[in-house]
Symmetry: C2
Subunit: 178 residues, 2 copies
């Protein structure tokens, strides 16, 4: 992404946090991760992430998705004999989020699935999260999510985050740490 | 606490969450822990807790403190050879919180320390948390905190929570699970 595109995305995310009344500090805004996950199609596939805390025991982040932006399908695989992979809880704080996991497919999904990504978004069981709703994903479960028309602010509570271990369905994606 | 006192405290906490724009569900409100920690002095010593998630790897809660309410001094001791005790991060979402840990005492603490509890609030190093500010406590460190004049909403991110293991400085306190 160009510096200008990153700056614009960051400004849009900050606007959304302000609307959602989520207090963040200037140093957190400066450190916000803005990524298109290497696909060069930021408005459709991308995410903004504020890492509040990530230590060897737990992690907490705020995820900000612009309107209809999609975090592409991935899973958090086992990383050691004692670590079955990252377990995570998504709690919708503002806006709306459509989360997809393995299971009975939604007959009419609320997400807009672009044809060019359809084969890379294989999980089709739908979980709709509105403000106050949350869902906990077991380790190693495939998932992807898309924000609704207004975008979304989602708190992620989890075990330790090691993004470099994430496995994406789309082989072109390499997770870049911000 | 009487049922009526609990209902009033819960209603005040819900009002504060609404002012802070923190979305919570009706079933979460019904399950909210409201406790005076057994001291029968709720306006001075007590806390309201929403447990969003507590599993064998991590925990996330929203703590609500009424104006000038104090969570009394305690620590989270080691509970096994592999668990050094609960580690936790407090992030102020709304209002103001005065957190006290071991270290250089504040010459003029912002908390109001009632004379009858002064000997039971031994940690006097002050950390002021305003919205967006956070602090991570190492396991087994003594701490207590008081909300400012408006009260406070604080997100707690932590390792697994096992309240029954908490050690309070005041020997009269027995932590009761809500």
């Amino acid at each position: 992404m160009t510096t200008r595109a990153i700056d614009r995305a960051r400004a849009a995310a900050v606007d959304m946090l302000r609307t959602a009344r989520v207090a963040v500090r200037p140093d957190e805004i400066a450190a916000m991760e803005v990524t298109d996950l290497g696909l060069g199609d930021f408005k459709t596939v991308g995410i903004q992430v504020l890492v509040y805390e990530n230590n060897d025991r737990y992690c907490a982040k705020e995820l900000i998705l612009l309107p209809r932006q999609t975090c592409p399908e991935h899973r958090h695989p086992p990383i050691s004999a004692r670590n079955a992979g990252k377990q995570e809880t998504f709690r919708c704080r503002w806006g709306e989020i459509y989360l997809y996991v393995d299971g009975e497919p939604a007959p009419k999904p609320k997400a807009r699935i672009p044809a060019k990504y359809a084969s890379l978004l294989t999980a089709r069981h739908e979980i709709v999260l509105k403000p106050g709703d949350q869902f906990t994903l077991p380790p190693n479960s495939l998932h992807w999510f898309q924000a609704g028309d207004k975008g979304a602010v989602v708190s992620e509570f989890s075990s330790t985050s090691t993004d470099e271990n994430d496995v994406f369905t789309d082989p072109r994606i390499r997770r870049v740490q911000g």
